[in-house]
Amino acid sequence: MPNLKDLKTRIESVKNTRKITKAMQMVSAAKLRRAQEAAEAGRPYADRMNAVMANLAGASAGTDGAPKLLAGSGDDKVHLLIVATAERGLCGGFNSSIAKMAKAKAIELIEAGKTVKMLTIGKKGREQLKREYEDIMIDHVDLSEVKRVGYANAQSIAADVVKRFEAGEFDVATIFYNKFQSVISQVPTALQLIPASFEAAEDAAEAPFYEYEPSEEEILSDLLPRALSTQVFTALLENGASEQGARMSAMDNATRNAGEMIDKLTIEFNRSRQAAITNELIEIISGAEAL
């Protein structure tokens, strides 16, 4: 039987843990609200951009002059996987679910005889993938110093990706991130960035016939890099909200588990105490009887 003092310290330590997880949960809840607002605020721009691009891309697809970012390099050999995860842990399955998805994709591509390269955003994903894929990681983007992900961050990532694409380093780029659905559900998502794909909103009204200035092709090639930045930005924002959501529910679970553990330990503690008292009484009584 564990002695009373040990049990008591154990209970104290679990109580402290519960305090910490509770605090973390509340911090995440506050951050989640901010992240969600940011994601919400970025939506009008992203939607518009998508709608316009879908319109433009639809018109230009298949023509010879279609920009490479849209049409692809004409090859399908080298794939770049951009894995966006969080900078911190303690958020349930958030990081692993993205890493797992990226890993599955990498295995599938390698089996199909393709070359795979990886670019990681966020420390946690890199840690998980490093063991197996260190030699194919071409770069890592560190956002740990960034308090609030801004458009500029997304822009520099997108610019880097475009530069590598133009240098012929890869043919297809896909970004992996968690799409925020609700606090308890984040969906790991893969989005192909290059060749660019744009899905017009389903309820989009038939686009009017636009006049373009400068020409349609020029606008398209001007907007493509921006659209790419926007897609990366949206992914980062979704990821940010998902991370906080995942952490919040993970910490909520942890707090509840700590509470259950405290109850169990307290019962054990009381039983031991009672047993000790009973024992002492028995000793006294049998001592007295022996006289």
Binding site: Y45, V52, Y212, E213
Partner: protein
């Protein structure tokens, strides 16, 4: 008087959404004014001042790039960077000029021409604010 819905959005937030009577926009190939029943029109922006007239109020914004989509009922400006003109100081513009100059460095051919134009447009902003 007929009005037109005006939206100014940046990737990070919605900056303005008002009903306007006319909007002057610095398009890539020249300034133009969008009013109600404008023909559907899509153009990129050059660095410049965008002014929105709504009733008797005129609000001005400095934009550095992006594009605008005009239809008969609405004009949506998607700007990468936009600030109310009152908040823009010469220092801010000088910063933009420096960035444009840095971006123009080492380019050749058409890209160089485009970048140079951007530098000139940005410099012209100094006179406008």
């Amino acid at each position: 008087m007929a009005t037109i819905q005006f939206d100014l959005v940046s990737p990070e937030r919605k900056l303005a959404s008002v009903v306007a009577s006319e909007i002057q926009i610095p398009g890539a190939d020249g300034d133009f004014t969008a009013m109600a029943d404008h023909a559907p029109f899509l153009t990129t922006l050059r660095p410049g001042v965008l002014s929105v007239k709504s009733g008797n109020d005129v609000t001005e914004y400095v934009v550095t790039g992006g594009f605008v989509e005009v239809s008969g009922e609405a004009a949506s400006v998607l700007a990468e960077e936009a600030m109310p003109k009152s908040e823009v100081t010469a220092d801010v513009v000088n910063g933009l000029v420096e960035a444009a100059v840095a971006a123009a460095e080492g380019l050749e051919g058409d890209a160089k021409d485009m970048a140079d134009k951007r530098v000139a447009d940005t410099k012209a902003l100094l006179d406008l604010i």
